[in-house]
Amino acid sequence: MSSTAGPSRTATPRLLDTYRPLADAYDEAFAAPGVPRPHAAAFYREFAARERRDLDEHVSQIQAQLAEFGLDYRAPGEERDDRPGALDVLPAFLSSEEFAELARGVAQRAKVIELAFGDLTGKQELLASGAIPAELVFNNPRFQRAAVQGQEEGRKRLSLYAVDLVRTESGTWRAIADYTGLPPDLGFALEHRMIVSRLYPRAFQLLGAERLAGFFMTLRAALRAAAPVSRDNPRIVFLTQGAGSRGYFEDAYLARYLGFPLAEAADLAVRESKLFLKTLGGPLPVHAVLRGLFDDDCDPVELKGGSDGSAGVAGLLEAIRAGSTALANPVGSGLMETPVFAAFYDRLCERLLGESLLLPSLPTWWTGEPEAQSIVAERLRELEGYKTFAIPNTAPILLVQAPYHTWTEARRQWEENPGGWFFREPPTRSTSPVWNGNSLEPWSLQIRMYATADGDGFSVMPGAVAKLTPPPGSRAGQRVRVQDVWALSDRPVENVSLLQEPGTPIEIKRSGAELPSRVAEDLFWLGRWLERTENKARLLRALVYRLSGESDVAGSPAIRVLARSAAAVGLIEASYGVASFEAALPRLDGFVATRAIRSNEPDSLISGVKQCLRSASRVRDRLSTDFWQILHRMQRHLHQGASQDNDFLTDELTSLNRLIFDFHAASGAMHESGTRTLGWSFLEIGRRIERTTHTATLLENMLSGGLSEEGPSLEATLEAGDSIMTYRSRYLGQLQPHAVLDLLLLDGSNPRGVAFQLEALQRQVDLLERATGPQAAPKRIAASAVEAIRAIALDDLLRATDPRHERLLNALETIKGLVDELGTVITEIYLLHVGPLRRFGNFSRDD
């Protein structure tokens, strides 16, 4: 938003007075300038008190909350321009009467489409009778023949349906798109509601806005009902396209809200016609899948035409046919998104339900039919023309508006192949006030409503997502906005939460053996990256502190010890650790800021934070919101540091301090909120491996510098090893090598010391074994490491007979080697190894 100084308080006292609805469009909120429509009046009465700076505040609240949900997250190099649009500070409203009428229409339309879907992928009576032209199905790229066979009639339910609506000049709503394949942006609807309702808590209560939770409870029940075997507690997973795909965060959010595990295709496998979730505890049967994959991508064996077999779950269709699992919506339901079907829903509703269609589409004609041809021929110039099977989300080819077409050419193209086109009346849209950063502007509105299967019919979500497009010449440019739509109620609103369904005792579960192997792998790496990055931050802080201080100069023993360790973990170039090379190098202090903290080098601090985010994003559904928020703050803080003047190392010290606080907060969030399940074990093993390596590396560099100038280098090592306070409390200011080594190496009570890590690793390895069955190798390696550290006798090792401490260095080397091996073995045994899927190739040709 604009950062120019706003007008004074008195210059724009009443934002509402400046809002001018368009003369030629229906405005959703205002009947006339300054006169809100009755159902919205209560909101605008409260809103009227708001000033420009309040709205600016709302905008930043929205930004902050989007960040909190992770919606502003972008993987490096990834653009998210396909998001549904920026969230506006204002909600839009549907009065209770209007919502009730719309809900009846949406539910009826969903039913008609569901019945038509069942028929077209079943008996095809609608084709035999000519109610739908056969060409529109047989020639339709969305018609999945493989999904037709074997699906029994009773299973053809649409668990979820969505429809886009616009309001015509006469004030009635018309459908412009139907969604039957995936639940489009449903997670957004939920998130947006959370954010916007918090901006206006009083109005939300006062207006009696309907809650969304009840709808999601019905959706959950619909998915339970979709599971083929009637079970008290079917296992349902949410199948997402995976990290990095559009909508992944919304999928994760929705899965969590619904209480379904989030799975990627690689987490699922079909064996003997049954679908399983691959977990550490073994494969677990899956009874229903809420899918975020397109029809084509569900099963590479039978669906995808191309040579790349990577997408989907091999054998899924066979599992569905065998009746062991169900997909919601069913495979092949994408057929009903065919836009040209809109031309037939009037007829179909009469035929299938014996009712007239309450919520018709915009008038639509497929010109493969002679009657439609003559209608269109007369109105060609005023209609929008589309290719018959134009795919939604890609811009439809507008025959008559393509700039290079003359009318004659357009008509010729159409007449050459009339069956290749369909036409519809251009949509008109109502307007809704949108905050453009400066004033309220009337933007064009369309809404998306959702329905879920409920009994024989459908339940409609009491609310909607509005998509708004700016008027020409708007200050806000061409970006689409989204508004949360509140359906208002004239009766008391029930407060429901998804966390507990009344009357249904849930099964008590304690074990985490249901952990998908892929998730275990991500948690393992999250643990490693968190610890590795935190250690680097500590090391850099100790270094920067000394570089910026008065007492130490570059090349002092303490700085040299730290520089060697920093070089060992790749933060700075290896030459900095070697005194004789340093003269030729740029000054270390400048280098730290540019290279070690913020460069794109894979070993820099900021790369480490990005790795944490990447691993965390793949297990988003298993991390607390707090934890996620802390990770985000880290990245933001590091970026903010970069935008300031970096010449002063004290600024770097501040940002490193802040980063380390954040790491503490992250550890706290994990330790105090993470249940000690198998997932925890993998996170913990990852952390302990890294911390062992870190502390051992610090000690190696302390020892290899010789201990002649002990004081400063010992202190620096203790600081980088986060044990200085413990040391001081025990020994006050007396710094001696064997006491430092004892604390950082042998003292099993120091959570930063090596002994502590190795014992913790041994415990976790035992836990894994107990949960998933005997495994000799990890146990043996963990035991060897513990043995190795117990065998160290410090007094012996520090004798003058070994001035270079070779025996101690060897012992450290052995321990580092063992934990490294442990990491490898754990990966091999427990974690996922998905090879590429291959397609049976160029064989058995008919020659």
Binding site: L127, V270, F840
Partner: protein, 306 residues
């Protein structure tokens, strides 16, 4: 009346172990008016459970997966199929081809919906102007449809060179027409694409040819592998099978396996495997006549069920 024993062996070997594979096979012949399947066995190594189903077009399919580690997989299908004599309508007496096209639009034939399945674009057979122009070389205005189809069959045989390995499983009808060569699959695709481009239905048919010709008959092309031809819709006179690779009307030398819109709908094996890297394929097809007494045939042909 002829009875054949068909043996179709497919063996894949991999240079690395395959962890699991999922497959859908078209290896069981479908029964039709002129083709009765008397017996069928499918042996799979490593042995596994097979679900026998039919696909969208009514072809029998075998769905199976092999969940154990293996380095080779073999499928041996052995069937006995009895071929009944067909009567070919007099080509000159069949409907003018435009009448068939119009009759479909008017939904005038009882089986119009079934025929309409084979009228449109599929992955490997897209309609196009070149294919339409090629078809019009035979389908001149008012010409009886079978006469025109037989002429197209002959023209494809004469103009499109049969060249083994000149195309692959992804080659489309339009590409093959451009190349002016291909294998039997491509010739069938060109035929189907040509007639669909002028608004007439055609099926792609997969099957086999008898390995050694009957006494007095020449050796046919495509006899020791899977074979492919087309089935053309004549309106009230039903479907007639034509083999453009050999310029033949399909009678008693061909054994039907299944039909669809193109090769992909009836490919012998569709599947996915995990691991295994490179695959080597070995295929053997034998189609041999089985001696039977006329009496037993007569008895069978009156058995209930067909």
């Amino acid at each position: 009346m002829t009875r054949y024993r068909v043996r179709h062996l497919t063996r894949y070997s991999y240079d690395e172990t395959v962890a699991v594979c999922h497959n859908v096979a078209h290896l069981r012949p479908r029964s039709s008016m002129e083709s009765i399947v008397r017996s069928y066995t499918l042996r799979i190594e490593p042995a596994t459970h097979v679900e026998n189903r039919t696909d969208y077009f009514g072809n029998p399919i075998a769905c199976f997966s092999i969940p154990e580690r293996h380095q080779a997989m073999s499928l041996e299908a052995i069937s006995e199929v009895q071929i009944l004599p067909r009567t070919l309508p007099d080509p000159g007496q069949t409907l003018p081809w435009e009448r068939v096209r119009e009759g479909l639009r008017q939904r005038a034939f009882p089986d119009w919906l079934e025929a309409t399945q084979f009228l449109f674009d599929s992955k490997l057979v897209m309609r196009g102007a070149d294919l339409a122009a090629f078809a019009r070389g035979s389908f001149s205005p008012g010409r009886p449809i079978l006469e025109a189809a037989l002429d197209l069959n002959r023209r494809i045989h004469e103009q499109i060179a049969y060249v083994p390995r000149s195309t692959d499983v992804e080659t489309t009808a339009i590409q093959a027409l451009e190349l002016q060569r291909g294998v039997c699959q491509d010739l069938a695709h060109i035929f189907a694409g040509a007639v669909r481009s002028i608004g007439l239905p055609a099926r792609y048919v997969s099957g086999y040819l008898r390995t050694r010709p009957a006494p007095g008959q020449p050796i046919r092309v495509g006899a020791d592998e899977s074979h492919a031809w087309v089935s053309v819709y004549l309106g009230d006179a039903g479907w007639v099978d034509l083999d453009p690779t050999n310029d033949l009307v399909v009678r008693e030398e061909h054994v039907l396996l299944g039909w669809g819109r193109d090769y992909r709908d009836v490919a012998p094996l569709l599947g996915i495997y995990l691991g295994g890297k490179n695959q080597t394929l070995h295929v053997e097809v034998d189609v041999t006549p089985v001696e039977t007494s006329d009496e037993s045939l007569l008895a069978e042909s009156h058995a209930p069920g067909f």
